[in-house]
């Protein structure tokens, strides 16, 4: 066993695969699904996916603030079933989620059902086979399934957020097993998310987003005004962290919906501005305690909040996130946010 705090320890485990899987479950080292054994050989192979040293500390992961070394990220990547070339993306994602503006400590320890959504942009999406098309938030793609799973294992094993202990989620959500997709850049009428956030088309990035869930918006609206109205109406519900905090909600526009909005002459920011204006919610729809919390959270920006106040879903229109993803169909996904978190984008180093 290695005595260094930054190097992972080797432990004796059963040779039989079934027993080995139970060994991991018993120690709460898994997410409830069988894992790929992180043997010395498999971890060494995963580490060949980067030139970084195994004991390089990439981040400290809240709430336990365990050190996410390259080696520990690789171990959890092996367990999740990741391929070797996925490792740099997980290194970047670990860096991103430890940025203070992401508020990982709040995300990990809250009663809210917050999953960390990995959104991949740039050439690496195609190189790794990250799905941004049909069923991109569903099953069936190795990269989407295992990258999100690896990040969850990192959050649980390195960050120490075990369900029922430091992870205080009332229900959680299926996205806490894995929540990962690419943007469908080829079918977007607008600039991709990473370009909007200051990166170049040739750069590859991963964005971490504090996602409270996914809500299907199935609408056959066939013009921009109608579509904006339907989406905005759906965004406005009282038991939403976004309204009382002033959050950062996201829309995953299906390519058909994005095309309708673009054909209506709307750029991405126009869509944000229209949704921000048209999704206002009367504070009178909140319960008394929520109204009190809204006053604490947004009073400095909005002044005295009464039941007559019209609350915006985000502090400013730019805070509404928009990406285009998915396949054919009359669907868009609304991703309400944790509220107290801001997405962080990092470049994926290719070495």
């Amino acid at each position: 066993m290695n005595s260094s705090l930054t190097r992972a320890a080797l432990v004796e485990a059963p040779d039989d695969l079934d027993e080995l899987i139970e060994f991991f479950h018993a120690r709460r080292w898994s997410d409830g699904l069988p894992i790929v054994p992180p043997t010395r050989e498999r971890v060494a192979r995963m580490l060949s996916g980067t030139t970084k040293k195994p004991d390089d500390v990439i981040a400290k992961i809240a709430p336990g603030f365990g050190e996410a070394t390259v080696e520990r990220i690789a171990i959890n990547a092996v367990m999740a079933g990741c391929r070797v070339d996925y490792l740099p993306l997980l290194i970047a994602a670990s860096q991103a989620m430890s940025d203070p503006q992401f508020n990982l400590q709040g995300i990990q320890a809250t009663t809210n059902p917050v999953a960390v959504w990995l959104l991949v942009n740039g050439p690496i999406a195609e190189q790794l086979g990250v799905n941004g098309g049909m069923n991109c938030l569903g099953q069936g793609t190795v990269a989407n399934a295992t990258l999100g799973r690896a990040l969850r294992l990192i959050m649980q094993n390195i960050g120490g957020a075990l369900p029922g202990d430091m992870d205080r989620a009332t229900h959680g959500q299926p996205g806490k097993f894995s929540f990962c997709c690419a943007e469908n850049e080829a079918q977007s009428p607008w600039e991709a998310l990473h370009i909007e956030r200051g990166f170049t088309r040739e750069q590859s990035t991963v964005t971490v987003i504090a996602a409270a869930g996914t809500h299907n918006l199935n609408t056959h609206a066939d013009n921009a005004d109608e579509l904006i109205k339907v989406i905005a109406d759906t965004m406005a519900f009282p038991a939403s962290n976004d309204y009382w905090i002033g959050g950062e909600p996201w829309l995953v526009l299906g390519p058909q919906h994005a095309a309708i909005l673009a054909a209506g002459g709307l750029g991405k920011f126009d869509v944000k501005r229209r949704l921000w204006e048209e999704s206002k919610l009367s504070a009178g729809r909140l319960c008394a305690k929520e109204l009190s919390r809204t006053q604490s959270a947004r009073g400095a920006a909005l002044g005295t909040i009464t039941s007559e106040t019209m609350l915006t879903v985000a502090q400013k229109a730019e805070d509404i996130g928009i990406v285009v993803a998915g396949g054919p169909g009359t669907h868009t996904v609304y991703v309400a946010s944790f509220g107290d978190a801001r997405a962080v984008t990092k470049v994926i180093g290719l070495v």
Binding site: A8, E12, D15, F65
Partner: protein, 92 residues
């Protein structure tokens, strides 16, 4: 077979108080309101009790922007400068 332990040692497992306060008489006590309903009312009552029963000099109350975010750095700096002891709100 040998496999790697995927966990990391939890940081700060051993924590030591920077100093102890002992008697509360004449001390300045700070509270960080986590914005959960009624915390402010609880602190108002505690302030009276701390003054009457324990002779604290004063109570300073600060409020976080919302429950799931850390207190702002300037709030923490102010409390650290002014208080002998700070109590943070947690939960409902």
């Amino acid at each position: 077979m040998q496999v790697f332990d995927p966990t990391a040692p939890v940081a700060g497992a051993t924590q030591n108080l920077r100093r102890t306060v002992g008697d509360l008489r004449g001390k300045v006590i700070g509270f960080i309101d986590n914005t959960k309903p009624n915390f402010n009312l609880l602190v108002d009552d505690l302030a009276v009790l701390l003054a009457e029963r324990y002779g604290v000099k004063s109570v300073i109350k600060q409020v976080k922007r919302s429950v799931a975010t850390p207190a702002a750095a300037n709030v923490l700096d102010d409390l650290a400068t002014q208080c002998d002891l700070v109590i943070t709100g947690s939960g409902d």
